[in-house]
Amino acid sequence: MKVRTLLVGLAVVYCTLVFGWTVQASDLGLFEGEKGTLKIAGGTAHIPVMKEAAKRIITFNPDIQISIAGGGSGLGIKQVGEGLVDIGNSGRKPNDEEISRYGLQVFKWAVDGVGIAVNPKNPVRSLSKAQVKDIFAGKITSWKQIGGSDKKINVYTRDEASGTRAVFWKKALSKGEISSKAYFVVSNGGMKSAIAQDPNSIGYVSVGYIDNTVAAVSIDGVAPTLENVKEGKYKVARGLYSNTKGEPTGLAKKLIKYLLTPDGQDIVADKGFVPVK
Amino acid sequence: MSDAVKINVYHLDFSYQGHRILKNVTTQFEENTLTAIVGPSGVGKSTFLTTINRLWETVPLADMKGNVEIKFNGCFHDVYDQSFSLPRLRRSVGMVFQTPNPLPMSIYKNVAFPLKLTGEKDKKLVARNVEKALKRAYLWQEVKDRLTDDANLLSGGQQQRLCIARALVLEPEILLLDEPTSSLDSRAAMVIEELLLTLRPNCTLIVVSHYLDQVSRIADRVIELSDGRFLERPLGNPSQLRVSGLHRT
């Protein structure tokens, strides 16, 4: 009796596993029979998508190992260029010098915006471009000057390796100065949690990271939402790129291919970015 | 030079940290006798013992001149000669220290330790020799049921006899004892004394001692070390010795 229950149970488990996989396997079929390790580093905006993709791939085929590190776009480009990782992510397009020097192949699989974020307790929800520039340059120092409470503004910025910083600096600040008094954080996740904790903060973060723990701020009346980015209304937008040194091969090639399949693009949309297909 | 001489010491000079402790000492020790060395503390009695088995060489800032010859197999060997193996010397010249110094091992392992050093692999032989040594040291009856116990669990007197057994297991021809009873109570000391007397027939013993009554009980010959020189003392009753400026402990 007991043995039979056990057998039935096992059969059920087996079936769910097998069918579960075959059903799911539509686009993951790419990774059938693959083996080995894949190393990814760079842009931090990419991490949620990469993690989810890795999770699905490894669940489908446990023989594959994927390691994901942050570090920023600059680091991603350099590490892939030096051959330290297989895929280097960047939140900005690698510049011509980088592409020619390392022989990079660039793949864009999502569109993202860089939005200004403040603490939800802060009433300010809209700024003009000039105000933004002044705040980040350290010329406007109190929230009172722009309609908030009488508190000093704590400006948060990213390090030089960040693609998010590069895009924001170019498109929102028009390459203006960033105050030397700004606090530094090392990733989009770090920016979000810092702003969520500090009531007097202002910073910039990938649109995909904006949720209810932080409040998005409109620039010249345009809010940094997915729709506005998609429609091209919100100007501080950028692509999310994955770069390889030379033509991608093996797992790297398949991962990039997978990101561009309907499944992959679903993950992109699910994580708050604009799919490219 | 009589046939019975076991150890010859010639012109021994010893200095420690620049202080001259032994001054041009020349003496002989006869085979299978018990010689006692007496003298005030800190005068270099223990140091003299270490010149015979070259143990002083491990002490930093010590320096020695002179010669020591020991007769092995009927033939004298200069122990300071380069070709003379140091481990061989130490194995033929046993030494027992002032405070019992059992190694951090079981009782059995302690006694078997010197055999381990010689690379003896035959377990039966080791066991036989250990038993023999323990019996010679009058310890066998007390420890035969607890050979695996930690040696430090033994009493002071037992520990000292263990150390003697450890020295005996290699069947040394010479045994140096540096105040072997000074850290023991009088009953334990008596046992050790009797033990030494039983060893005398086939072992040359040199004992450094503070206890003059002890010396008078066991020694064949008494030497007093004073100001770096050796003085022969007549065997006599303890009070005679006291007159010569020694103290009784």
């Binding site: 669940t59 030096e82 | 143990l55 220290f97 392992k109």
Partner: protein
């Protein structure tokens, strides 16, 4: 006047004792208060079945399992590298080295033990990069490089504890075995090392603790946010202290942050247990365990 001054000082001593105990109790208490509810199997294995995870059938996501295994491997490897070399150096220093050599080497080890761990990490990273450029394309920051760098970090601890416990042995103890005919080497290995073993072992345990807690070295030499259980010493890996650091800055939801608290509690417990072991062993427990027939 003097009386008041003395009274004030006494008050100050008590106050500082209370402040110290209070702050540490607050820190640990806060951690446990916030994190204890996460302490369950899900914290470690996420939604993967523990059996599958342990048999390495499935990679664990949203769980600490890979980080725990990573830390464990890291400790094993680093101690594996550093103990033989460290023991050898310690023995040499205590038993063989002449006065001048000893002074010089001691200075080197003092400096080595003072070098900030991030500099050791930088060193490990540049060595890896150097080898990658000039030697083999297959060498990059990885478990091997991290463990070697950590070995450098803990090396002075092991050298120092070995040296000190050997040097602290009594002169009588040193003479015993030579008097029985032991050579220098036999004396060292049969008597001196066993006798100072408890000191040496507790030093090794403290080194293990250092390997478990260090973050700065590994963050430059191959630890990553997501890697799964490493399959070889040339893989990237996850580790508990880095996980805590990473979560503190990058958590995206409260659930993730809670895992950070969980990881912190686990790491803290691990380190405290190691410390405790070191104490117990130092109290000569090893004596009875290690020296029976």
């Amino acid at each position: 006047m003097n009386r008041i001054f003395e009274k004030l000082l006494l008050c100050f001593a008590w106050a500082s004792g209370i402040v110290l105990v209070g702050s540490i109790a607050y820190i640990v208490g806060y951690l446990i208060f916030r994190g204890f509810e996460t302490l369950n199997l899900t914290l470690i294995f996420g939604d993967t079945k523990p059996v599958d995870a342990l048999l390495l059938k499935r990679q664990v996501f949203e769980g600490l399992f890979p980080a725990i295994i990573g830390t464990f491997l890291l400790i094993l490897l680093s101690v594996g590298w550093s103990v033989p070399v460290g023991l050898g150096s310690g023995i040499y220093l205590a038993e063989y080295a002449g006065k001048k050599v000893k002074r010089t080497l001691n200075l080197f080890f003092d400096i080595l033990s003072g070098i900030p761990s991030i500099v050791v990490g930088l060193f490990g990273f540049s060595v890896a990069l150097f080898l990658h450029k000039h030697y083999s394309e297959n060498i990059y920051p990885c478990l091997l490089i991290s463990s070697l760098s950590l070995a450098v970090l803990v090396l002075p601890y092991i050298v120092r504890t070995t040296q000190v416990s050997l040097e602290n042995l009594s002169p009588e103890m040193r003479l015993t075995a030579p008097a029985l005919g032991a050579t220098k080497l036999q004396n060292i290995f049969y008597v001196l090392i066993p006798k100072s073993l408890s000191g040496i072992v507790s030093g090794v345990i403290l080194a293990i603790g250092r390997c478990a807690e260090d973050t700065a070295v590994i963050m430059l030499t191959g630890v990553v946010a997501t890697a799964g259980v490493p399959r070889s010493i040339f893989s990237n890996y996850e580790a508990l202290p880095f996980y805590i650091y990473y979560i503190s800055a990058q958590y995206s939801d409260p659930q993730e942050l809670l895992r950070g608290y969980g990881a912190a509690i686990i790491l803290l417990t691990l380190c405290v247990i190691l410390l405790f072991c070191a104490f117990v062993i130092k109290k000569q427990l090893a004596y009875h365990v290690l020296y029976r027939i």
